[in-house]
C-alpha cells in the first residue's frame, strides 16, 4: 500500500507530513516507556523482519497481490509507540533506498501504515484482550484480528485522503469499494502472518512479546522489591 508521488496534491501531502511528524514525535516520547536495555534490540529486529516480510507479496486472485503491512504485528511485539517507530524506519528506508513509496508521499505512508496501521492494530488487540480470557493462548488470535482490521481501515483512510486531495478525477464511491474489497482480502493474509509470527514467538520467548506482558504478569504472583526488579534486567526469575 505504498503511495507513490503524484497521487495526492501538495497541500494534502504537506498535511499528512505534518500529521506523520506529530505521530513520530509522540512515538519517540512514548517509546521510552516501552523500551529498556532488554527489549531495545527487539525493536530493530522487528523493523528488519517487517521490512523482509513486506517484500513477500502473496497472491490475491485474480492477478493481484498483497503483502504484510505489519502494524498490528509491531504493536503487539514491541508496543504501539515503538511500533510506529519501526514502521516509520521501514517506510523511510523503502522510499529513499528502494524507490518504494514516494518521497513526497512519505508522510502519507507513515500516516497510513505507521500511525493508522499500528494504532488500529493495537486498539483492536487491546480491546480483544479485555473481552477474551486473559491467557497467553489468546495473544496471537487477538493480534491477528488487529492485523485483519488494520489493513482495510488504512485503505479506507487512503480513500479519505484521496477524496480531499486526489490528483485524478476518480469516482470516489467506486474507489472506496475497490480499496475496501481488495484490502479486506489482503487483511486475511495480514492476519495469518501476524498470527503465525506472534504464536511462534509466544512459544519460544513470551517475555519478549510486549502485548503478552499483562497476561504473563497476572500469572507470576511473585513479590519483588524494587531492588530486585532493577537487578533483573534479563527477565530471569531470581
Amino acid at each position: 500500500m505504498h503511495v507513490p508521488d503524484g497521487f495526492l496534491d501538495a497541500p494534502t501531502s504537506v498535511a499528512t507530513a505534518g500529521f506523520a511528524a506529530l505521530g513520530v514525535g509522540l512515538a519517540l516520547r512514548g517509546a521510552r516507556r516501552e523500551l529498556d536495555e532488554r527489549t531495545a534490540p527487539m525493536a530493530g529486529l522487528v523493523a528488519a523482519f517487517i521490512f523482509a516480510m513486506q517484500m513477500l507479496n502473496f497472491p490475491v486472485p485474480p492477478s493481484t497481490s498483497g503483502h504484510l503491512l505489519g502494524g498490528a504485528l509491531a504493536a503487539v511485539l514491541v508496543g504501539p509507540w515503538t511500533g510506529v517507530l519501526c514502521l516509520s524506519v521501514v517506510l523511510l528506508v523503502q522510499s529513499l533506498m528502494f524507490a518504494d513509496g514516494g518521497v513526497t508521499a512519505l508522510g502519507t505512508n507513515i500516516t497510513l501504515m505507521g500511525v493508522i496501521g499500528v494504532g488500529v492494530g493495537w486498539l483492536v488487540f487491546r480491546g480483544l484482550q479485555r473481552l477474551l480470557p486473559s491467557t497467553p493462548a489468546m495473544v496471537a488470535p487477538a493480534a491477528a484480528l488487529g492485523g485483519l482490521l488494520s489493513v482495510p481501515v488504512a485503505a479506507v483512510a487512503f480513500t479519505g485522503l484521496y477524496a480531499v486531495g486526489g490528483e485524478a478525477a476518480v469516482d470516489l464511491s467506486t474507489l472506496l469499494a475497490a480499496m475496501a474489497a481488495w484490502h479486506t482480502l489482503i487483511g486475511i493474509g495480514e492476519a495469518a502472518i501476524t498470527a503465525l509470527t506472534v504464536a511462534s514467538i509466544m512459544t519460544v520467548r513470551p517475555d519478549l512479546v510486549y502485548g503478552a506482558r499483562a497476561v504473563l504478569e497476572s500469572r507470576e504472583l511473585e513479590i519483588r522489591t524494587p531492588a530486585d526488579a532493577d537487578a533483573d534486567t534479563d527477565g530471569s526469575v531470581a
Binding site: 508521488d5 534490540p41 528488519a48 521490512f51 493481484t64 497481490s65 498483497g66 533506498m97
Partner: protein, 106 residues
C-alpha cells in the same frame, strides 16, 4: 543469565530472528508474487495511476529491490533484500537505543 524459564536464550533468539529476516528478504523474496499489490491494482483499474510521478530515488543503486549492475535476477533481488534488512536493523536499533530507558538514570 540469558536463559529464561527454560526458554531459548535471548541472544540465540535474536540471532535466529535476524537470520529468518535475512533468509526471507534474501532468498524467499525471489518467489514473491510479481502481480500489482492492492493499491497498484486499484490505481490501474480506476485511473489514479495516470498522475503517478517518477520516483525521485528511481536511479538509486537498489531501486525497485534490484542491485545495480547485477544481471542475475535472484542475486540482484537477494542482495537488495539483505542490504535492506541490514540498513533497517541498524537504523531501527539505533533509534530504539537512543530513546530507551537507561538504568543508570533511574
Amino acid at each position: 543469565m540469558t536463559r529464561d524459564k527454560g526458554g531459548v536464550p535471548r541472544k540465540r533468539f535474536f540471532v535466529g530472528f535476524l537470520l529468518l529476516a535475512v533468509l526471507l528478504a534474501g532468498v524467499v523474496s525471489y518467489f514473491a508474487s510479481g502481480d500489482p499489490d492492492g493499491l497498484e491494482r486499484v490505481a490501474g483499474d480506476h485511473g489514479m495511476a495516470e498522475t503517478e510521478k517518477e520516483h525521485a530515488a528511481g536511479d538509486a543503486p537498489f531501486a525497485d529491490y534490484g542491485t545495480e549492475g547485477v544481471g542475475n535476477s535472484a542475486l540482484s533481488g537477494g542482495l537488495a533484500g539483505v542490504a535492506g534488512v541490514g540498513v533497517v536493523l541498524l537504523v531501527g536499533t539505533g533509534v530504539a537505543f537512543a530513546v530507551r530507558r537507561r538504568k543508570s538514570t533511574e
